[in-house]
């Protein structure tokens, strides 16, 4: 009889341990899930402006007989580069009239006198160098 009681107690203990372990595991999982609960955060982004598209100028049928302005924005070495571009035109497209101009002021400065000259006398503009 004692032996039966002893076996029953051991069996109950095993069952208790068996069912208890998953409970503990679930608790751990539940804690993990709680730590991973979804939250809502606010965007730190600003508001970008709308873009208004601008008109591109019509292209030329040909450069023959046209005046192309080579405009130097003022960055170091641009004058040397544009001289080479001018020489290339003279050697390869001699009918193109090339005019070199150094834009007034800092890179970002406007040069209304030059813009007016290009509008009146030029057909196209090549500007360099963007760095």
């Amino acid at each position: 009889m004692k032996w039966h009681i002893c076996v029953s107690l051991i069996a109950m203990l095993c069952l208790a341990l068996f069912y208890n372990l998953p409970i503990r595991n679930n608790q751990a999982q539940a804690q993990g899930k709680a730590g991973e609960e979804k939250i809502t955060v606010l965007s730190p982004m600003g508001i970008p402006p709308a873009i208004r598209l601008k008109t591109m100028a019509p292209r030329l049928d040909t450069l023959d007989g046209k005046t192309v302005y080579l405009v130097d924005v003022g960055y170091v070495g641009t004058d040397i580069l544009l001289k080479e571009v001018e020489d290339w035109f003279k050697a390869n497209m001699p009918t193109v009239n090339i005019v070199y101009r150094r834009k007034f002021g800092f890179f970002t400065s406007e040069d209304p006198f030059l813009w007016r000259e290009i509008k009146e006398k030029g057909h196209a503009m090549v500007m360099g160098v963007g760095h």
Binding site: M45, L53, M56, L63, E84, T108, H123, M125, G130
Partner: protein, 423 residues
Amino acid sequence: MSAVVDHCINVESKLGVPTVPLIISEFHDQVKLHRKKKGMPGLRVTYLISPVWGKTAKRLRNEIVAKSPVSETMIMQEIVGNLTKPLTAEEKKMGTIEQSAGPERFTDTPDNLRQYFMDNRMTDYLPIILPTEEKVAEMLKGTSHHPDEVVGKMAAHTQFPGAGMEIFEHWSYTVKTVAINAVMAGMKPEYLPVLLAVASTGKEGLSVSDNSFTEMLVINGPIRDEIKLNYGIGAMGPFSQANSTIGRAWNLLSLNAGNCGRVGTTYMGVVGNPMNWNNIVIAENEEDSPWQPFHVRHGYKPTDNVVSLFEGWGIISAKNSKFSKWTREPDFPGAIKRILIDQDMLFGATAVLSPVVAHFVKEAGFDSVDKFTIWIMKPEEGQWPDFRSIRDINIIITGGSNNNYWSYGGMRYFQSVLIDKWR
């Protein structure tokens, strides 16, 4: 880069003259985005082999008859084609493109959100405080201004007045946006008026310039003690929450609200700058200075709380200069003059003196900063002045008095703004 693109867009759209901007190839991504932002996504650019600066005529001659590193077509033939090939239907498109910076809220687990913020370059890659509604509401207690009030607008480059056209697009932001970025940086609500004052200027905390600039704030007035800014030992270092987080918050605000710091488009610093993490934040040590504080010298009252903005290459110790030797009877005015006049006039020079060094200078006969600055500017016999105006030289006093050290750098002063307006 941007200036050339902008001039060409203006010449095309305003004068009706076809153009070809010549840009070095490394700026391809930036140009692609920039020409779209400026309303001419089809602007025909010819990319050159970089760099141009420093090359001989012979080398450039060979390079312009080579293939463009971007299009793989011959450079000179491409220039001719860009001026003569008829516009496509896409290039003729007109209208307005609305832009969005994404959703106003994100919902996910904290780990995923942190990863999302990093993946989308909304952080400086250091840990952030996630800006929940509750934390942002708490931060907003630092100001009486309405959360929806527009504070200002920011671009990746601030143009000096009169320096010509604005190049980068300006993004706008509200008080709430500033507070969100302040939360992320780890700021306390009582610091918020400082950041709002900085934000109101529109000055970016991360400059696009290939110079790898850093930015600097000088804070004056009683607020220094209110928010526990450190202006004693280690004043420019990370030794108080206010010093550490205000400059960081300015950067996060610039990244997110101003669209700055996007490598390849709105950030082009060649070697970068370690000071970009939280910029340079200096609370002046007004109490130990022998002179009037910086803000008073710029027309403010001593009791005004003022933040002043600078930009440049950074601040380093003067000790390593050959003009700054350890000697028994150091000549501080002479050393400061020799080091400052060695700086490039374009950005001027800023000296950050410890109080003890400032007292040495005063005792040498300079009872005001102006007197000292005029003396620094005065050229040697027969030489041209190194600086254009007294404003090109700035003297800031901060730090401890435990030794005779000072720092300096090419930092130019932009402007000062009142902080209390944003309380």
